[in-house]
């Protein structure tokens, strides 16, 4: 025979199945009860190992996750309860394993739909071993102020409302989990509250029976009266009758057997619970209620006055001095969950980010307030999308064309330049395409690919400051820096770069004003006098024309233009264009299955002897 008490304020449980909500609800209950240690010792999530983070009051704690029951039980030998959330398919094997685990004495089986034979085998083995099974098909149970099984009694508000955070005097047992919660409420409103409540589950063969729990309550000193909710079907209540008659249940017992309506239906309605069907006259609710009443139980006339009967019975015990009403305890408040508080509009919080360019929270994705469908329909192209996402403007067609031209012109410059070279080496080292791209892009800076940005910055500054081209050249010379965007390997004024010529032609035709380009060309006149190939190159041309685009389209203030240039958007334009080319080189290498590249020795001067 097992001990009548299943749970204490120090009871801890193994949770079989990764049920995060149920775990948090148990811990919240622990907190309002003032438990010192969390009631969840360990989680078994088959095949998984690690930690689960949960709240214990205001603080966060870590609960270990074990890959199997054996590991969990070995680690927590003092934990004697298991709450089994395994499915109806696997409940049997995990429950049997738990039964055979020495340290585990009480197992709650949550699953609905466990085969009856399996449930009976579980019950029989538990009986042999003197262990307790609650369920299957149950929400569990609760010992007020001590220990709560899984989702029993619902939200913390309800727990406090039903005075479940401290023990009262009434022991309760029923089949139904939903109704047990209702009954805790009824008990709280009509007495000093629940001592312990168990829902044995609605199946035909629950692991433990109403009677077993009644007899436990009979043996627990603190339980002063017992409340039970029975159900049509089965003969369980008749065993209670026998025990009442034999005087084995001495504490006042308030009981109601539900299903009195069944006599009105023909054909035997199957109610919501599998076990709730009368197979013979003695299993009807009326017969059972009558037998219980005759055996001395307090039986109401209908469920409607179940609470009144509890109240009367309770008050009589108080008058007799059997019950000293439990003192009210004000529980600590469990901090509200953030999501819940937000939902209820109880808190606000400053955001960490601002976003002004796009919106994915609307019916349709928007780029700067333009629905994506309109982006496509208007055929604004990549240039238009850059306009929306970079400048937050709908750019005129010629501006979009210019941006696209810049992207096209910067897309590639052969395999030898740093960006492409690096990407090729990375690609041949077998790296993924993103790593290859990154290794190429990471070379872009002051010496490689930075000329567009540099040209725009310098020519813009000089032109706006009103420096003459000669003054500007002197200034750059004094700094000892070459003028960005000036100079080409082979091209000259007489042998011009066709890319530059086409660009200039486009700009002259479409832009209203071209002050920066004009200025750069004036500088070019001077530099080419020094050396024929010091022409405005394609990078320089893109840079200065970009400045003129901003100035000529009339959509940007001077301040905005300054910001755009200072933000480095021209660098971005180069990166965007060059990404196309770099990917080209990466795919090229992969397509050709090129092996790892190693710099040949004769490319390197070994001078390690150097002192």
């Amino acid at each position: 025979m097992m001990k009548p008490e299943l749970f204490t304020k120090d009871t801890t449980a193994i949770i079989y199945g990764y049920q995060q909500n149920a775990i948090q609800r148990m811990l919240d209950f622990d907190y309002v009860c003032g438990r010192k240690i969390p009631s969840v010792a360990v989680i078994v999530d088959p095949g998984r190992e690690g930690w689960h983070k949960a709240f214990f009051g205001k603080a966060e704690i870590l609960i270990p996750i074990a890959p199997d029951l054996k590991t969990a039980a070995a680690k927590f030998p003092g934990t004697d309860v298991m709450i089994n959330f395994a499915s109806f398919r696997s409940s049997y094997s995990s429950t049997m394993e738990a039964l055979e685990t020495k340290t585990i004495n009480t197992i709650t089986v949550i699953a609905e739909g466990v085969p009856e034979r399996r449930a009976r085998q579980i019950a029989a083995r538990a009986k042999e071993l003197g262990k307790m099974i609650i369920g299957p098909a149950t929400v569990g149970g609760i010992k007020a102020g001590c220990f709560k099984i899984a989702n029993t009694a619902g939200t913390i508000d309800n727990i406090v409302e039903s005075k479940l955070h401290r023990p009262g005097s009434i022991g309760f047992v029923s089949k139904s989990g939903g109704l047990s919660n209702e009954c805790y409420n009824i008990i709280a409103r009509n007495s000093d509250g629940l001592y312990e409540g168990i829902a044995i589950g609605g199946d035909s063969y629950p692991g433990s029976t109403l009677l077993e729990h009644i007899l436990r309550y009979e043996a627990i000193k603190e339980v002063k009266m017992i409340a039970v909710l029975g159900e049509i079907g089965g003969t369980e209540e008749l065993k209670i009758v026998e025990h009442l008659k034999k005087g084995l249940i001495k504490k006042p017992l308030v009981i109601w057997v539900t299903g009195t309506c069944a006599k009105m239906f023909s054909g035997g309605v199957q109610f919501g619970h599998a076990g709730a069907k009368a197979n013979s006259d003695i299993e009807t609710a009326d017969a059972k209620n009558k037998a219980l009443r005759e055996a001395g139980a307090v039986v109401p006339d209908s469920f409607d006055d179940y609470g009144d009967k509890i109240k009367k019975t309770y008050e009589a015990l108080v008058r007799k001095g059997v019950i000293k009403p439990a003192a009210e305890v004000i529980p600590p408040t469990v901090p509200m969950d953030y999501a819940q508080a937000v939902k209820e509009g109880k808190i606000r919080k400053p955001t960490s980010f601002i976003n002004t360019i796009s919106n994915d929270k609307k019916e349709e994705l928007e780029y700067c307030n333009v629905p994506i469908s309109k982006v496509l329909e208007s055929e604004m192209g990549i240039g238009g999308v850059i306009g929306l996402l970079w400048f937050r403007r709908e750019l005129p067609p010629y501006a979009r064309k210019f941006l696209e031209t810049a992207v096209m012109l910067t897309a590639d410059h052969g395999p030898a330049v740093s960006g492409a070279h690096n990407a090729i080496v990375a690609s041949r080292a077998g790296k993924d395409i993103i790593s290859c791209l990154a290794s190429g892009l990471l070379t872009i800076g002051p010496r490689f690919g930075g000329a567009i940005d540099g040209a725009a910055q310098n020519f813009k500054r000089a032109e706006e400051a009103g420096l003459t081209p000669a003054q500007f050249m002197r200034e750059m010379k004094a700094k000892n820096v070459p003028i960005p965007g000036i100079g080409h390997k082979v091209k000259s004024l007489t042998n011009p770069d066709m890319r530059v010529e086409l660009l200039k032609k486009f700009v002259r035709k479409n832009f209203k004003i071209t002050p920066t380009l004009d200025y750069a060309l004036a500088v070019e006149q001077l530099t080419t006098q020094k050396k024929g190939n010091l022409i405005l190159n394609v990078d320089g041309c893109i840079g200065v024309c970009f400045v003129d685009l901003l100035k000529s389209c009339g959509q940007f203030s001077q301040k905005e233009i300054d910001d755009i240039i200072a933000l480095g958007m021209l660098n971005a334009l180069f990166v965007l264009g060059r990404t196309i080319g770099i990917f080209g080189h990466v795919f090229d290498q992969k397509r050709m299955k090129q092996p790892l590249y190693r710099v040949p020795y004769d490319e390197i001067a070994y001078m390690t002897e150097l002192k």
Partner: protein, 420 residues
């Protein structure tokens, strides 16, 4: 999910397949079973079961009711022509068996096997909590009840097996063979997810082969995942005389396609008290209370939804109930009870969402039917759920009374009925 009766056809199909392991001659019998439905064509029946033409036959209705012999519903030792005509005369005809009236739709045909009248034995297996009980009587057939004192009980512990059980049978003919049969039968009972199995009678053919005659069985349908192979294509027909209505069948379908539970039984389509209650336990209590207050004749339905059904499921469910309750207006008006206890984990606001949507859709019909609505519920997010119900009352122009856990669960029943 519960114990469900099955057709004798399915029961025998499974039985013969199983017994063939221990009684090889029964292998043939497994193939000689035919189920005739209103859709069956004579030609198809014959091509699927050529033995029908060559064997003498037994025919009987197969619709989960007994005492067929007493009601003249068994045809013995007939040829195919007679059998087919006999079925045709009875198919889709209404008969009354005991207190139940229903339509005949399914007939089982088997080969007719002559057996010794003095060798009619009875066997039944039933589950108790900690054992299976095998009942055996040497006086089987229609005499078993009046000879109940001759019945021998053998208890097989749930953790034990029939191999270890001592069958203390009286000194009957072919005793060893009978014991072997009982052992095999119990094997099927245990392995096959049975909740009840009765063969009354079984006997022996002139060749000395065991012959199970009438069979009644119930299966535990939750065992399906373990017994798929044994059961094959198993059907769970409704009890005789209780064919599901279209709406009940629809809710059954919703129930089967989800992990949540949804149930609906129409008791009286003209009734004025309709319920839509959350929870298997609570729903019974609401129905009880309606009856306890003397309104059982007015109670239109029994039903429940539970196990955290999705908003879509509760919407479909509510629509079905509302449609049924607004078909024929009654000048005295109607009552809809949307009840429930305090949920443990079902999100009340979410499940109410589906009900509210359905109520809004049925606004005009509800007004026309003078429906008063009473709501009582608690549990996670109940405040939001109840607030949404109250708000709906304002917009619907219908009287909706809304209560939470502070009001006794069934009080709305008396409020609703005593107001009438």
């Amino acid at each position: 999910m519960a114990q469900k009766g099955i057709r004798e056809y399915d029961g025998k199909r499974v039985l013969f397949d199983w017994l063939a392991k221990d009684f090889p001659k029964l292998k043939e019998r497994a193939k000689k079973l035919a189920l005739i439905t209103p859709e069956t064509k004579e030609k198809e029946a014959l091509s699927a079961n050529p033995w029908l033409k060559t064997t003498k036959l037994v025919v009987k209705p197969d619709q989960l009711f007994g005492k067929r012999g007493k009601h003249g519903l068994v045809l013995l030792n007939a040829d195919w022509k007679t059998a087919w005509k006999w079925i045709a005369e009875r198919m889709n005809k209404t008969v009354t068996v005991g207190k139940t009236t229903g339509e005949l739709t399914h007939f089982l045909i088997e080969p007719f096997t002559p057996h010794a009248e003095d060798e009619e034995y009875y066997v039944a297996i039933r589950s108790e909590r900690d054992c299976d009980v095998v009942y055996f009587s040497p006086k089987g057939g229609i005499y078993v009840e009046e000879n109940w004192d001759k019945v021998i009980e053998t208890r097989i512990p749930i953790l034990g097996s029939a191999a270890d059980a001592q069958f203390k049978l009286p000194d009957i003919k072919r005793r060893e063979e009978v014991v072997r049969f009982l052992r095999s039968l119990h094997g099927l009972y245990a392995e096959g997810g049975f909740a009840y199995l009765e063969i009354n009678p079984f006997s022996f053919s002139p060749d000395g082969d065991i012959v199970p005659l009438d069979l009644v069985a119930k299966l535990d349908d939750t065992a399906m995942f373990e017994t798929t192979k044994l059961w094959g294509d198993m059907e769970f027909p409704p009890a005789f005389g209780t064919a599901l209505t279209k709406e009940e069948a629809f809710v059954k379908h919703l129930d089967e396609q989800s992990g949540a539970s949804l149930k609906l039984t129409i008791l009286n389509p003209k009734g004025r008290v309709w319920t839509m209650v959350a929870g298997g336990g609570a729903s019974v209590i609401y129905a009880d209370t309606v009856c306890d207050l003397g309104y059982s004749k007015e109670l239109a339905n029994y039903g429940e939804y539970s196990g955290d059904p999705s908003e879509r499921l509760t919407y479909e469910y509510a629509k079905t109930v509302l449609d049924l309750m607004t078909r024929t207006p009654d000048s005295r008006g109607k009552v809809l009870i949307i009840g429930g206890g305090i949920a443990n984990f079902t999100d009340v606001a979410k499940t109410f969402g589906g009900i509210i949507k359905a109520l809004a859709e049925f606004k005009d019909k509800l007004v026309k039917n003078k429906v008063s609505i009473y709501v009582r519920r608690g549990g996670p997010n109940y405040k939001e759920g109840l607030a949404r119900m109250r708000k709906l009352g304002d917009t619907l122009g219908l009287p909706i009374q809304v209560y939470g856990p502070e009001t006794h669960m069934t009080r709305i029943v008396s409020m609703a009925l005593e107001k009438k």
